[in-house]
Symmetry: C2
Subunit: 220 residues, 2 copies
């Protein structure tokens, strides 16, 4: 299914023309970001926490914290909301009213499953690691059985999703285009800077090629 | 009160040593970010939406959408969670297990109030505008009465809050420091690029000084 069904849950209501439901729009947003914001509920109080995530096919993986509120909530089969936002620019219109942001946001809905089986857990952690920094997993010291036990990994099959995006110049009212006010976009992007070595790094260990490539822009 | 009381709601449970409760830590995180993620609940389903925000003293302001789910939720006096996250870097440890992120995150709790009084609404919109781009409000065409009516503005007095931060190099297990694995931090930051004029901009209108200063780094 290349497109998610539009339901009351995922329907974009505000500025509905900006809503998209196809995976070809949604998944690149999910994949470009390093972090997502996970929403859950406890006694009617919403909680929103940032966390590292990765997508594989139609599943989102993230680390849960052992014995955390979020983990208990997931284990109880409760619904999650996972939101990913990329900010692309500030939109400066001629009128205060038409100021806006350029952005790409994806909202994913589903229920989490705690991965218990060690090989599955290891595979999911590898997916997360490779999503963040391709090549790193094979270079670093592998997890021990004890470390694996101390890590909680959650898989959330994506039941429903939507994206909402805005791009391009401001849209002003016709009569405002004559105003002597500068209008346009101030672009914003995430900058990945050159690696900074650990002060405790042993001499003679250089930045690995996969990391240099990464900084040069192979990952956004 | 320079510090928020630690309660079950705002207590940082996972890696508690990274939790902070003083406004001197929390508010600069809130102020540096252009967007926040707002969490609310409908029929047990959490929703997390990105939105522009601004802080003034102990209150967060944001635009709500007319007749939106979120607005109805706010009008019913239901609790919100507003989370702001700044990603500062990828932490590359010698072991897979100790990989991490450097970040500064703030989580704010409260209930929203819809601002009805036009002068108060205008003042709140000005606060939001000035938080995003200082100097812009006075330059652009002011809101008409009709535009003001079409805009919903919400104030959320901050009842409770916490921050969670990580900075600095990786922390590896003692025996791993001898491994021939590069370790350190890949810094990440938000880059504000030079303004791009609207293709429909009339000739002779130059980028205003306040916007040039902004791009040069007066705002993060």
């Amino acid at each position: 299914m290349p497109t998610f069904e539009i339901t009351p849950r995922n329907k974009v209501k505000r500025l509905a023309e900006r809503g998209k439901y196809d995976k070809a729009t949604i998944y690149p947003i999910v994949d470009e970001a390093f972090i997502c914001h996970v929403g859950f509920v406890q006694d009617g109080q919403p909680f929103v926490i940032p966390t590292i995530h990765a997508r594989h096919e139609d599943t989102i993986f993230f680390h849960g914290a052992k014995a955390s509120r979020l983990l208990k909530y997931i284990e109880a089969g409760q619904p999650l909301c996972v939101t990913i936002t990329l900010l692309d620019g500030l939109v400066m219109a001629r009128s205060v009213f038409h100021h806006s942001m350029n952005y790409r946001a994806a909202v994913l809905y589903g229920r989490g499953q705690v991965i218990e089986e060690p090989a599955e857990k290891l595979a999911a952690l590898r997916i997360i690691s490779e999503a963040i920094m391709p090549g790193r997993w094979d270079d670093a010291r592998q997890p021990t059985g004890k470390e694996l036990k101390a890590t909680t990994v959650v898989a959330m099959p994506i039941e429903s999703a939507s994206a909402k995006t805005r791009s391009g110049p401001p849209g002003d009212d016709d009569e405002d285009y004559a105003l002597p006010v500068w209008a346009g976009v101030v672009p914003i992007r995430q900058l990945i800077e050159p690696p900074v070595a650990d002060p405790l790094l042993n001499e003679g260990i250089t930045v690995p090629d996969y990391m240099a490539d990464f900084v040069n822009g192979l990952k956004p």
